[in-house]
């Protein structure tokens, strides 16, 4: 008997299918060119961009200009927001500027470890879902919060493997296992994955996808690292 693995079927988020289960972030790269090379090598179809870094009014913006929206879904994120109010304001601005109504919800009142605020995240998710956004919330690996978010209608949950940028791997393994067991929406392991083997581990645990940024962006050869992550996933 053969079984179909996750790798053989597309990742579906809010009814939209994606051929790759690797999402890639655009921060920390040494140049737009290095970023473009890495995106291409990763095979990703979802690219997340920090709204605080882009100039939505400037069509020449270096980051927006570097992401081919014909090829990738541009997923704006609210990094830098400390409260639900700020995150909602950013998401609305992005939509008003012509971005698709998808948002990676990040609310991190602590600027050092960038850990997500569960209370504000839940509040902002409620508002954004009601306003018709496809919401992908970045959360701590908290199974109850994951269910609460799913219940209000988020399109995924994105628990962290370890603090952002730490490259430490799936340190929250046991809690992510519970999230995966209980979830009816895709579980995307976000943050902390430092090596392709970490990405493979998350996928083996049953995660639907992973999001990687720092490990690729700060690698000596971002393109080669992106290719390696593609294989890991």
């Amino acid at each position: 008997m053969t079984t179909t693995g996750k790798a053989d079927v597309p990742l579906t988020i809010a009814g939209r299918a994606f051929g790759s289960r690797l999402l890639v972030g655009t921060g920390k790269f040494p140049s737009s060119r290095a970023m473009q090379g890495a995106l291409q090598a990763s095979g990703t179809e979802i690219v997340t961009v920090a709204l605080r870094r882009v100039d939505l009014e400037d069509s020449q913006d270096s980051i927006l200009g570097a992401v081919d929206t014909g090829r990738y879904l541009l997923l704006p994120n609210t990094s830098g927001a400390r409260t639900a109010e700020e995150a909602v304001r950013l998401a609305r601005l992005a939509r008003a500027a012509g971005c698709e109504p998808w948002v990676k919800l990040e609310i991190t009142p602590d600027p050092h470890y960038l850990l997500p605020d569960p209370v504000e995240t839940l509040k902002a998710a409620e508002i954004l879902v009601r306003e018709g956004f496809v919401v992908l919330p970045y959360i701590n690996a908290d199974p109850v919060l994951a269910r609460r978010l799913e219940d209000i209608g988020t399109a995924t949950v994105m628990p962290l493997g370890a603090p952002i940028g730490s490259n430490r791997g799936v340190k929250t393994r046991e809690l992510i296992e519970i999230i995966i067991e209980k979830a009816n929406v895709p579980v995307v392991v976000d943050a902390g994955l430092g090596a392709p083997s970490h990405a493979a581990e998350a996928m083996e645990m049953g995660a639907d996808a992973v999001l990687v940024n720092t490990a690729i962006a700060v690698a000596g050869d971002p393109r080669a690292m992106a290719r390696a992550f593609k294989k890991g996933v």
Partner: protein, 371 residues
């Protein structure tokens, strides 16, 4: 407990002697620690650590890239006024210098300076004044901020210390970061360098960053003025100060600057000069102990040194700076606070960054995030 109370617990302790006694073995132990702490910092700032500079630099580089990426935040200072009531012996704005051309930009002139900076690519600006609340009034600052806010996504201030209430008002008017240098943490020396004016009050100044944290600034910047006192000791106390702020104002990003005294109007000679090698040791030592803190570098330093410091822990830098009010858009500005050593244009600095594998970041904030 305020930081003034924390630093008081060090009275009677000879930090300089402790640093001087640290051995090679102590340095090796500090470098072997997975997350070196303040006690390790004493070793990393010691003369013994001078022999480990290469190793410290490599580790500082790795930590900085890991945490902040291969990017450099770019900002420019905008001097609004050089009128000052203080008599800081090292400063070009010293009230005693009667020959200095004193200028306070009108809000309209400040807006033209802002437009010139915006045209150079800057979206992040630092507004500076001397201590002259009778001229740099609440109403004046409100007018300036109204004109500058649409042009910039981040506005910081480096002015005279204010109250929490006043800081809250400024945050409401669009300011997101506060910079205030203690100049020196040595209270006795502090008194000698600041003989007159409100700035003579050591404690009022020392507690300014915490008032900024309490008011809710997103970023709070601190730093010693290098050259006034033993840099090794100052390095320890600025780290102690940063650690205090990180613990008590956990929602503010803390940054540390490394202004080194250079020639100012009046020709003050630094009593405790800091060499280039010393500066590198200080930056790297602090990076190993404060991996999450932003480090700022100004144009006080030479192009050669700045280029070499890029990978060693610096996360934010200014470029093309003018330190006289009106310096960007007006032919006859006022007198300058200090001489800029790196006179390269922002575009030229950005090019150097790119060549060295760093992306210059002009916008890392959004007005939508302003409270």
């Amino acid at each position: 407990m305020s930081f003034a109370d924390v630093i008081r617990t060090y009275r009677g302790k000879d930090v300089a002697a402790e640093i001087g006694h640290r051995s090679r073995a102590d340095v090796e132990r500090a470098l072997a620690a997975p997350a070196p702490g303040l006690d390790d910092l004493l070793s990393l700032l010691s003369p013994a650590a001078g022999a480990f500079l290469e190793e410290m630099a490599q580790r500082a580089h790795r930590l900085t890239v890991q945490r902040f990426g291969r990017v450099m935040g770019m900002f420019a200072p905008l001097y609004l006024s050089n009128v000052c009531t203080n008599r800081c012996v090292y400063c070009g704005f010293n009230a005693a210098y009667t020959s200095l051309a004193r200028v306070t930009l009108t809000p309209e002139k400040a807006a033209r300076e802002g437009a010139a900076l915006r045209a150079l690519g800057f979206r992040s600006v630092l507004l500076l004044t001397g201590e002259a609340p009778h001229i740099v009034t609440d109403r004046y600052l409100k007018q300036v901020l109204e004109l500058l806010r649409p042009r910039f996504t981040s506005i910081g201030i480096e002015m005279f210390p204010m109250t929490v209430q006043r800081y809250r008002e400024l945050i409401g008017q669009g300011v997101d970061s506060l910079t205030v240098f203690q100049e020196t943490y040595d209270e006795a020396r502090y008194g000698r360098f600041h003989p007159a004016g409100r700035k003579g009050d050591y404690r009022w100044r020392l507690e300014t960053p915490e008032r900024g944290g309490a008011a809710g600034f997103r970023r709070v910047g601190i730093g010693p003025l290098l050259g006034l006192s033993d840099w090794r000791v100052e390095g320890f106390f600025v780290a102690l100060h940063a650690s205090y702020l990180l613990k008590n104002y956990w929602q503010s990003q803390i940054t540390v600057s490394f202004p080194r005294l250079c020639s100012a109007a009046g020709g003050f000679a630094p009593p405790a000069p800091v060499g280039d090698r010393d500066l590198v040791q200080l930056i790297c030592g602090l990076r190993l102990v404060l991996p999450d803190v932003g480090f700022t570098l100004s144009t006080r330093e030479s192009p050669l040194l700045r280029d070499h410091l890029i990978p060693l822990g610096i996360t934010v830098m200014s470029a093309g700076s003018r330190t006289e009010p009106g310096g960007y858009a007006h032919a006859s500005g006022g007198g300058a606070q200090f001489t800029v050593a790196d006179g390269r244009s922002p575009g030229a600095v950005a090019e150097v960054l790119r060549r060295r594998g760093y992306e210059p970041v002009w916008k890392e904030w959004d007005a939508a995030l302003a409270s």
